[in-house]
């Protein structure tokens, strides 16, 4: 199967994730969309590694996974604490940090 | 000739293994003193004593440095003495390199001379709410340290670092210890100077790139950069020159860039104002002499008319504005703008007399304006107001104070017999051969100098006793306005609300007076130190001294 299809899938997943981030208000959903984008990138990294016959991309994908895992831990903790204080998980409600 | 100069310049490049640590000591001693202020912050008397001891020790060390400085070696082409150099950031070719020529030597001597006196002045000063004397003295010492660094650095990058670092303690001195409008003044001072510094940084990087092109490896070492100065294309030089020039013109300040000075000078506490106008601003004119002229000789010559126009405008404009001022500190600041015009005129007139005069002017202006600021401070300490109209007829109440003010004023208007005359004469006589028109206008400026000084003196000192601050002080039998700082005990002891000078104040003024008069009649020792370095600068610029038409050498003997 042509690697192009993987890349197309990756792009599709990324677009879905990006649109999700932009249109959804629920913090958990936004968060999952971000994960989706990260994994879309991972997919393209692995694909490129395969295409170029090098392991760099695959290694990079592992890095991304590790960082993503760490990020999930921190991010979910933040979302939890916001939810506890404001009784809401909408990202538009947490808009105090502005001009 | 150029190759010979280049060779010596290259050979003079400091070894990278250290060298004479004297200048390092001069730099680090005030830093140490400033740091000591922190643990001593609860014990104010001890803190003051330690600060004073540090300043005095620094002064002694500078005297030792002066004694050890060899004018013979300087005459025979040794550009810097007390050289010290170790690599700093090898990737950028920067060094922690120090060294002094005669010009730098007199500037560090001026700094070290002024600081102990200023500390004595600040000894009993009433500080704003919540500020401690130890913090005040620490900032003074920190300012002194950065000044020592900026004058002794022989690596252009290091110079830049000190040039910017200077702003920090001065910013806090003005912003924390200044007058009512101190926030505005300190921010304006900081931003204005920083802007100039950043433009200089751009030029600095350009200079580095140029040196990399010509020498193969980029360098920030002054003597290496100087050795390629003559071979750098004039168009490049002009851009690089302008970057440095803007920074120095803001610092000095020359006329369109001057408006920060009256604000900063007026709002700064007196000691900071003396250091600011007396020494810190001289970094601008020092920069002209040390960096602009030798590193960009062709550009300096091409752009000299521009600078001369600014200088001459400054002389007249500053003087006229000084006449129109109502605030005494702003008045002194504007007189300084006129004086900086003279220094700039001498610097861009390219003759050894003018260069020597400009250098000596830097020292003398520090002394005379310093004394003028101190006198203003003494008046404000009694009356609590900076407005001229709040004072009048003071000579009747405090004749000694009035006499000292007059002497400071006479030095400021360059009366022969005071220090400033020698420098002003040298600047004018040296500028006349090359720039007759500018010199004539500048000479007319001496009338205005007399005008503003005498007008100031007449308003505040002569005539019948009058003015809100004076009357209030006399009626209260204690001290004057809300900002008055004179010790009520002193006032009571003298039986007057407007007492004459105290012993401590005389102690502050006496050294200044002695130096002002002695340098007026015996400028020789200072000129001897300056002259060889001035000759080197002349050589680096590459313009011959404008020999008088008769071609007579020597003469009045």
């Amino acid at each position: 199967m042509s690697p192009t299809n993987y890349l197309l899938l990756s792009g599709l997943l990324f677009t879905v994730g990006a649109i999700g981030v932009l249109v959804r208000r629920n913090a958990i959903v936004v968060f999952m969309c971000i994960e989706l984008m990260l994994n879309a990138v991972n997919l393209s990294l692995v694909t490129f590694a395969r295409m170029n016959g090098q392991l760099d991309g695959q290694v990079m994908a592992f890095f991304v996974m590790v960082v993503a895992a760490a990020e999930v831990v921190v991010g979910l903790a933040i979302i939890m604490s916001i939810f506890r204080t404001r009784r809401s998980s909408s990202v538009d409600d947490a808009n105090l940090l502005k001009y | 000739m150029n190759t010979a100069v280049m060779n010596t310049a290259v050979m003079n490049t400091a070894p990278d293994t250290g060298g004479n640590v004297m200048l390092l000591v001069l730099l680090l001693l005030p830093v140490l003193g400033a740091l000591l202020m922190y643990p001593l912050r609860t014990n104010v008397p001890l803190a003051k004593a330690v600060a004073m001891a540090t300043a005095l020790l620094e002064f002694v060390l500078v005297v030792v440095t002066w004694v050890g400085y060899s004018t013979d070696a300087a005459s025979s082409g040794e550009r810097f003495q007390y050289v010290f150099s170790v690599p700093w950031i090898p990737a950028f070719g920067t060094h922690l390199a120090f060294g002094i020529d005669g010009i730098a030597l007199v500037m560090i001597a001026l700094t070290a001379f002024l600081v102990p006196g200023l500390m004595l002045f600040a000894w009993a000063e009433k500080l704003p709410e919540g500020r401690t004397a130890s913090g005040y003295f620490a900032l003074l010492l920190a300012t002194q340290a950065t000044l020592m660094g900026v004058f002794t650095a022989t690596d252009v990058f290091l110079f830049y670092v000190f040039f910017e670092a200077m702003l920090i303690p001065m910013y806090f001195l003005i912003g924390r210890f200044g007058g009512p409008n101190r926030q505005y003044a300190s921010v304006k001072f900081f931003l204005y100077s920083l802007l100039g510094g950043l433009i200089m940084l751009a030029s600095l990087i350009g200079l580095y790139v140029t040196s990399a092109d010509q020498l193969g490896a980029g360098t920030f070492t002054w003597s290496d950069l100087q050795s390629i100065a003559q071979s750098t294309p004039t168009s490049t030089q002009i851009w690089l020159f302008l970057g440095f020039f803007v920074a120095f013109a803001i610092k000095a300040p020359l006329v369109p860039f001057h408006t920060w000075l009256p604000d900063a000078g007026a709002e700064a506490p007196i000691v900071a104002a003396v250091l600011l106008v007396g020494v810190l601003d001289k970094v601008g004119t020092f920069g002209f002499l040390r960096y602009c002229l030798p590193l960009f000789p062709q550009a300096s010559q091409v752009l000299a008319p521009l600078v001369l126009v600014l200088a001459v405008i400054g002389i007249i404009y500053g003087a006229l504005l000084a006449v129109g001022q109502k605030d005494m500190s702003r008045f002194v600041a504007y007189t300084s703008i006129a004086h900086f015009g003279f220094i700039a005129l001498g610097t861009f007139a390219f003759s050894s007399q003018a260069f020597a005069g400009a250098t000596l002017y830097m020292v003398n202006h520090g002394l005379s304006t310093g004394m003028l600021f101190v006198m203003v401070g003494l008046l404000v300490a009694r009356g609590g107001s900076r407005l001229m109209s709040d004072y009048g007829g003071v000579s009747k109440l405090a004749p000694l104070l009035a006499g000292c003010l007059l002497l400071a004023g006479m030095s400021s208007l360059a009366l022969p017999g005071t220090n400033s005359f020698v420098s002003e004469f040298l600047v004018l006589v040296g500028s006349f051969p090359r720039e007759p028109v500018a010199t004539i206008i500048a000479t007319v400026g001496i009338i205005f100098a007399a005008l503003y000084i005498l007008w100031f003196y007449q308003q505040t000192m002569q005539g019948p006793v009058r003015g809100n601050a004076v009357i209030r002080a006399l009626e209260a039998g204690g001290v004057g306005g809300p900002g008055a700082m004179i010790d009520p005990a002193v006032a009571a002891e003298r039986g007057s609300g407007f007492p004459d000078l105290t012993k401590r104040e005389i102690g502050v003024l006496a050294p200044l007076i002695v130096v002002i008069v002695v340098l007026g009649f015996f400028p020789g020792p200072v000129l001897d130190v300056i002259n060889p370095s001035v000759q080197s600068t002349i050589t680096e610029v590459g313009l011959p001294d404008p020999v008088p038409a008769g071609g007579v050498v020597g003469g009045v003997r």
Partner: protein
């Protein structure tokens, strides 16, 4: 032109010449620094220091007399003062007949006036203690003046001359403003300093031109080589020097500070503003005679300035009622004579110095006499309040009378010898110059006789108008003779006024000055025979005296100043509108310019800076509105940015 005399190093007493100014300078320093402690003995030190200088001056003078005339010019180099590059200014002294003449005048008349001041400045009985300090301060400043004036005349180069030049300016400033709490004194002092500085600019520029062209500033070398310069340069130098002389000597157009300078104590008027400092301009031109020799045009300008000034001074002197101001305008006029004399060139240099010396005696004597009158009349200066004082103060009357006769050129008194010689030399010029100079000088001699006679009559003769008046301080007048410490110097000066002219011309002042000024050339026949001139001048002066007697002496003087008066009197009372001119043309526009510039600086230059800052601040305030706090809009902008970057990269790649 004769070859300049050889310059020898000073020997013997000459090598101590630096003490001449060092002694008064140290004395001034001690008096300034010692403070109240010196109140008791300050005046003694002040007098002693000037006397010591005088004695030393006499010793050097005698020693110089003992050598041949061509060896009388000596120099003494003390140390290198200002040295840079090829410029090397020595602190060096030139001891020659000209400077020694001035040294003797300054220290001699100076000593007498110091002694007089002991009495004049003595604290009033029961005065507050601070007035004690004032006498010490006065002597300190007077000593400072003597020191500076001696530096001025002794320096062997133009820079040292400039040091003395501005030094006497400072002393003059301090002493005019001595009564500091009087606003008028403070203003007069400032005015004097400023107008002097205008002249100083000329002197400074002359120095620069000399340096540019000759590369030296020492008299000997300048004079030796000044001939190499082009005529235009020489003319420029002489005119610039003349500007300096005009400022210091109160010559047109810078004359208006001198009458105002009478705000100072009277001994100051006598010493500084009559006998010595104001003659420095004459000294300058006489000293630089080798330069003036080369430029007839320059000399014509000098002489014309002198002519204009001597007329202005004489005309205004006729209108004032203030005794010191009349004497002041008389001084302006007499210095005009001296300037005219030195403007005549080799035929006049020595005559100018001659008149300067005799004038030093009689004008100092007149001022001291005026001071004595003021002392007696509660410090009043208005002559309309005087009258009949001759009987009350006989010594003052007689000494003043000697000075008066000497000034109007009474035969065989001092002024007769010196002023007539100048007028003779003036008529000795060819063509229009001879007529203009000569007639103006003769006319002014008549006017001098008029205003001085008027002064004498109003002060010493006539009815005792003061009997029915109160002094300005509210007391009755009690005229009385002054103490001996004041009359003594007046007597000495009166003797000088009578005999100085005769003695000086008998012992050959002109030959004595020849090594410095060149031989005095006999003036050519000119437009009027020399034998006729004395008679003409005498007639003119007699006419002046007669008119004054008819106008003032024969009818009672009104105590109130008569108004209205004819235009010439009105103009003269207003100083021929010199002050009005200065005020309208310089002062008012200057004030407006200053105000406009202050406004421009605060609003324009600083406004630009602050405007820039405000603009940045305002822009930022708008931009921060983009920071909405909505995470998703940030994400959208990030996405947009990324898309833009990628698009740009692709466009560059594939375009």
């Amino acid at each position: 032109m004769t070859a300049p005399p050889e310059v020898l190093p000073a020997t013997g007493a000459g090598s101590l010449a630096w003490l001449l100014f060092a002694i008064p300078a140290v004395s001034a320093l001690v008096l300034f620094l010692a403070g109240k402690r010196a109140n008791a003995w300050g005046h003694v030190l002040g007098v002693a220091s000037v006397l010591a200088s005088f004695v030393l001056g006499v010793v050097i003078f005698v020693q110089t007399l003992g050598v041949a005339p061509d060896q009388r010019t000596t120099e003494l180099s003390l140390y290198s003062w200002i040295s840079s590059g090829t410029l090397d200014v020595d602190f060096g002294l030139r001891i020659d007949p000209l400077s020694l003449t001035f040294v003797l005048l300054i220290t001699g008349v100076g000593s007498l006036i110091h002694i007089y001041s002991v009495g004049y400045m003595a604290p009033h009985a029961g005065a507050e203690p601070s007035s004690d300090s004032s006498r010490r301060r006065f002597f300190a400043q007077l000593n400072l003046f003597v020191a500076a004036m001696l530096v001025l005349v002794l320096g062997n180069n133009f820079v040292l001359l400039y040091l003395g030049w501005e030094g006497v300016g400072l002393a003059s400033y301090l002493l005019i403003g001595f009564y500091q709490d009087r606003p008028s004194a403070a203003t007069a002092a400032k005015k004097a300093f400023l107008m002097n500085r205008v002249g100083d600019v000329g002197l400074a520029l002359a120095i620069f031109v000399l340096w540019l062209n000759l590369g030296t500033l020492q008299y000997t070398e300048v004079f030796a080589r000044v001939g190499e310069l082009s005529g235009g340069t020489i003319l420029a130098i002489t005119l610039l020097l003349l500007l300096g002389a005009c400022g210091k000597s109160g010559q047109f157009p810078l004359q208006s500070w001198l009458p105002d300078a009478m705000e100072g104590p009277t001994p100051v008027s006598a010493l500084i503003h009559a006998a010595t400092m104001v003659t420095a301009g004459v000294y300058l031109i006489a000293r630089t005679n080798p330069i003036y020799d080369l430029t007839p045009t320059g000399r014509v300008v000098v002489a014309l300035i002198g002519v204009v000034t001597l007329l202005i001074g004489a005309v205004i002197g006729c209108a004032y009622d203030d005794i010191k101001k009349v004497l002041a305008y008389s001084t302006v006029s007499q210095i005009g004579y001296m300037i005219l004399a030195v403007g005549l060139g080799p035929a006049g240099y020595a005559l100018g110095i001659f008149h300067l010396l005799t004038h030093g005696f009689f004008k100092a004597g007149l001022f001291l006499g005026a001071g004595s009158v003021m002392h007696a009349m509660n410090d009043d200066v208005n002559m309309r309040n005087f009258g009949g004082l001759g009987r009350r103060m006989p010594i003052t009357f007689v000494t003043f009378g000697c000075g008066y006769l000497a000034l109007i050129g009474f035969p065989f008194l001092s002024g007769y010898f010196s002023k007539d010689a100048i007028i003779e030399a003036a008529f000795g010029q060819e063509g229009w110059q001879g007529w203009v100079y000569g007639l103006a000088a003769t006319l002014a001699a008549g006017l001098t006789a008029f205003y001085m006679t008027r002064l004498m009559i109003m002060t010493f003769f006539g009815e005792e108008r003061w009997r029915n008046l109160k002094a300005p301080d509210g007391e009755d007048y009690h005229p009385h003779e002054s103490p001996p410490v004041m009359t003594g110097p007046m007597i000495v000066l009166a003797i000088g006024s009578v005999f100085a002219g005769f003695v000086l011309s008998a012992v050959g002042l002109n030959q004595w000055l020849a090594p410095s000024l060149g031989e005095l050339q006999e003036s050519p026949a000119g437009v009027l025979p020399h034998a006729l001139v004395p008679w003409l001048v005498l007639a003119c002066s007699a006419l002046g005296v007669l008119v004054a007697y008819l106008v003032v002496g024969r009818r009672p003087t009104p105590v109130q100043r008569p108004e209205p008066v004819s235009f010439p009197v009105r103009a003269a009372r207003r100083d021929l509108y010199a002050n009005a001119f200065n005020e309208t043309v310089i002062e008012r526009p200057g004030i407006w310019l200053t105000r406009a510039l202050v406004f421009l600086d605060n609003r324009g230059v600083d406004g630009l800076v602050n405007g820039l800052a405000a603009g940045l601040g305002g822009g930022s305030a708008r931009l921060r509105r983009l920071q909405t706090g909505f995470v998703r809009s940030y994400a959208l902008s990030m996405l947009g940015g990324s898309v833009f970057v990628v698009a740009a990269l692709l466009a560059v790649r594939f375009a």
